[in-house]
């Protein structure tokens, strides 16, 4: 996973390193040629400046736009080619530009670190902190109600089966609400999954009211002291007002503890638009990305969290019930920067 993204990031890092090295060894340009960004820079990225301060030793390093433009343009392409959405790419690049431009006091041996730190802080700034679903469930009153949302075909139903299987292994009892009453074959699909992983399903007939099914599942959970209710919903597009208000109604009736929005790791720029709309119209607490086994580029993870500011909780990595990975932003960034062997 991420292999090509990782390799390309590394190349860019090296280039940036070289540019900085060059700037470092050539005589500092005249004050007048410094870019205007210099003045505004300090207040906006204290974190980076702090880091640099600790590295202060003897010589002065001044980076100008000229030194970093090429490698940053290259980084921009790397991000875009790896499905980081355009607005997110813009944000990362401008954060890095701000961090690197202007006047730094630095030392020769820290150039590698300088680049890596900047990239890491840009990526982590975008990815935010994670959320551990198991400790979340532990901390809540039972039954803990989790609603799954998302557009058509992203993997909601399969993911519910995987999450149910995962929670069962952690010792929780689970019931699933078959809330997709629209799609042909949906009832049979979920019933088969649930039977295979040994989980109870509550279902009504095709065409029924999804809120009612979910309501029944919660009743069932309360009566049987089941720990977790996982509610499936029919896939829908964010630009269909009536379907979105139906989903909003489901949310009101269900009062979920957690709304997990499911999208594909291989989705392109539309991922941020729809994540944004789902968040705006029905609310999202956490994100799950599926199909990460398709040689995912990793970009959707970065752009979705950047856009809605919600943590990614799981990655789906295949069609088997074991193909589920809890997600940690620091682990992803470490992996991207080649600091850990997965």
């Amino acid at each position: 996973m991420f292999d090509s993204f990782k390799q390309k990031l590394k190349n860019v890092q090296e280039k940036l390193g070289t540019s900085i090295q060059t700037a470092f060894t050539s005589p500092p340009p005249a004050e007048a040629s410094l870019p205007p960004q210099k003045a505004e820079k300090r207040s906006e990225s204290p974190r980076f400046v702090d880091k640099v301060k600790t590295l202060v030793r003897d010589r002065e390093l001044i980076l100008t736009a000229k030194d970093i433009d090429d490698p940053l343009t290259e980084l921009e392409l790397v991000l875009l080619e790896n499905d980081v959405a355009l607005p997110t790419t813009d944000a990362i690049i401008s954060a890095m530009r701000k961090d690197l431009l202007g006047k730094h006091r630095s030392i020769g041996s820290s150039i590698e670190n300088l680049v890596e730190d900047t990239l890491r802080s840009a990526l982590l700034g975008v990815l935010g902190s994670g959320l551990d679903v198991v400790s979340f469930i532990r901390s809540r009153e039972k039954p803990v109600k989790i609603l799954f949302t998302g557009v058509n075909g992203t993997g909601k139903t399969t993911s519910i089966a995987k999450v149910a299987h995962y929670l069962k292994k952690q010792g929780y009892s689970v019931v699933i609400a078959s809330g997709d009453t629209y799609r042909a074959g949906a009832l049979e699909q979920l019933a088969t999954h649930a039977q295979r992983v040994g989980i109870k399903v509550i279902q009504h007939q095709q065409g029924g009211d999804p809120s009612a099914v979910i309501f029944d599942a919660i009743q069932y959970a309360t009566a049987h002291t089941t720990d977790v209710v996982l509610a499936d919903t029919a896939g829908r597009f964010h630009n269909r007002a009536n379907l979105m208000s139906q989903l909003e109604k489901i949310r009101r009736v269900m009062k979920p503890d957690l709304v997990i929005y499911v999208d594909e790791a291989v989705a392109g720029n539309d991922a941020v638009i729809r994540a944004d709309e789902f968040h705006r119209l029905v609310g999202t607490d956490a994100v799950m990305l599926t199909k990460a086994d398709m040689d995912m580029k990793g970009g959707a993870a970065i752009s979705i969290t950047h856009t809605i500011g919600k943590p990614i909780v799981f990655l789906g990595t295949g069609q088997g019930y074991e193909d589920l990975r809890p997600f940690s932003p620091t682990a992803l960034v470490k992996e991207l920067l080649g600091e850990a062997v997965p």
Partner: protein
């Protein structure tokens, strides 16, 4: 968020408006905005860079045609390059055929299989469907349910685990139908055993077409995935699904380039009826977030070469139904036939009253009927006999009389145009005038 790109492109275009000399900086800005629009639409990044380079070079090096402003000149190049990138829309023929559907998990194969079945059914063909998905829970139920809604036979075996066996049996079972569609399980290029499976299905069924079903939202992954499928079974058409959302479908475009095929259909909704033939110009407009690109280009072209507007077709000796179809479209744009004929200095030549009286609604009906014809029929109407007339009528939802009327109209036009051929000079002048009127 959605429209900002389209509007920044429009702004960039505005800067070129009214200019008579190509301004390098303005072109560069336009190309940059274009790049961003295409990347945001998920077109393969390398493709975008290549494309924008050639747009830039052509815009700066090619002389704008006489009478054409710089803005129209650049616009036209942008349009031409994009059209050539996406190729012609893949043809759909109405002969006896087997079609194999392939694609990633959840891309919309099953739904699209049912939609395509409906398409061929409407064209008056007997259709059957095979469910070769042995993996996904509920797959057979899903396809059976969809097919029952449109009364189409669906072959599947509930407990069979070998998709190849199902396909073999299904082909035998459905030998009496004219179009067989095979739905397969979702797979991706890295799943070797599944790629091997679909190669085997293709070997057994020897499909006429292998269509790749792609979700409009698929990102930069599209090229690699398409290559994987193409190497395995030779993709000859792409279907883009879920275009009713906000995704632009740029990934699918990369897949087309990768497979050197064309786009067959667009899926734009969850019901069986939500299938459209592909229209390059509306697709481009959506990619760029600009609604009126084709119109602008057309207007620009009318200014430079009014005499090209179909006159050559009119003057060609052989006048097929296909030519007539094009003409109906062109005439539709130019206004009623009577008005056109009225302006022609025909030197005493008589136009049959019936030909002049064909209304635009009638023309539209004729086009629908011609949509139900095969390629051979369009090229040579002489092959159309009684049974074909029946089939065409059924497919177009028309009466056999209407089909006969269309054929009669064609013969009449053929005659009329033969008589007109001597008047080439006048005809060109006429067309020029149309160019200016519009």
């Amino acid at each position: 968020m959605l429209d900002t790109l389209g509007s920044s492109l429009k702004d960039a275009l505005k800067k070129l408006a009214g200019k008579s000399v190509v301004d390098r900086a303005a072109v560069e800005e336009l190309v940059r905005d274009l790049q961003r629009a295409l990347i945001q639409a998920d077109v393969n990044v390398k493709m975008v860079l290549r494309l924008s380079q050639s747009i830039k070079t052509r815009s700066l090096e090619e002389e704008p045609p006489k009478g054409m402003g710089v803005r129209e000149h650049v616009l036209r190049i942008v349009y031409q390059e994009l059209v050539s990138l996406m190729g012609a829309s893949a043809p759909v023929d109405l002969s006896t055929q087997v079609i194999l559907m392939a694609g990633l998990q959840g891309s919309g194969k099953t739904t699209t299989t049912a939609k395509c079945a409906r398409f061929f059914q409407r064209k008056g063909l007997r259709v059957g469907v095979i469910c070769a998905d042995t993996f996904r829970p509920g797959a057979l139920d899903q396809l059976t349910t969809l097919c029952r809604r449109i009364n189409i036979p669906c072959y599947g075996e509930k407990d069979q685990t070998d998709a190849v066996v199902i396909v073999k049996n299904g082909l035998a079972d459905l030998h009496q139908v004219e179009v067989i569609l095979i739905d397969t399980q979702g797979r991706h290029a890295l799943e070797e055993h599944l790629i091997a499976e679909i190669i085997e299905i293709a070997r057994i069924s020897n499909p006429t077409h292998r269509w790749l079903v792609i979700d409009a939202a698929l990102g930069q992954q599209a090229s690699d995935q398409a290559r994987g499928f193409h190497e395995a079974i030779g993709i000859d058409g792409v279907i883009i699904t879920k275009m009713d959302g906000t995704a632009k479908g740029g990934g699918a475009l990369s897949a087309v380039t990768e497979t050197k095929s064309g786009i067959v259909f667009i899926g734009n909704g969850e019901t069986i009826e939500d299938l459209e033939r592909f229209d390059p110009s509306s697709f481009i407009s959506r990619l760029l977030g600009m609604g009126d690109l084709k119109l602008l280009v057309e207007r620009a072209e009318e200014v430079i070469s009014p005499e090209e507007v179909d006159v050559n077709a009119i003057l060609r000796g052989r006048f097929t139904l296909r030519d007539m179809y094009k003409q109906l479209e062109a005439l539709n744009k130019m206004g009623p036939l009577r008005q056109l004929m009225g302006m022609l200095p025909l030197g005493g030549m008589e136009i049959p009253q019936e030909a002049a009286d064909v209304t635009s609604t009638k023309m539209a009906r004729y086009k629908v009927i011609m949509d139900s014809m095969t390629a051979a029929e369009l090229d040579d109407p002489a092959v159309i006999g009684g049974s074909r007339i029946q089939r065409i009528a059924r497919g177009a939802g028309a009466t056999p009389e209407e089909v006969k009327e269309l054929l009669k109209y064609h013969r009449m036009m053929q005659q009329t145009l033969k008589g007109m051929r001597g008047n080439k000079f006048n005809l060109q002048r006429l067309m020029k005038r149309f160019g200016r009127i519009q």
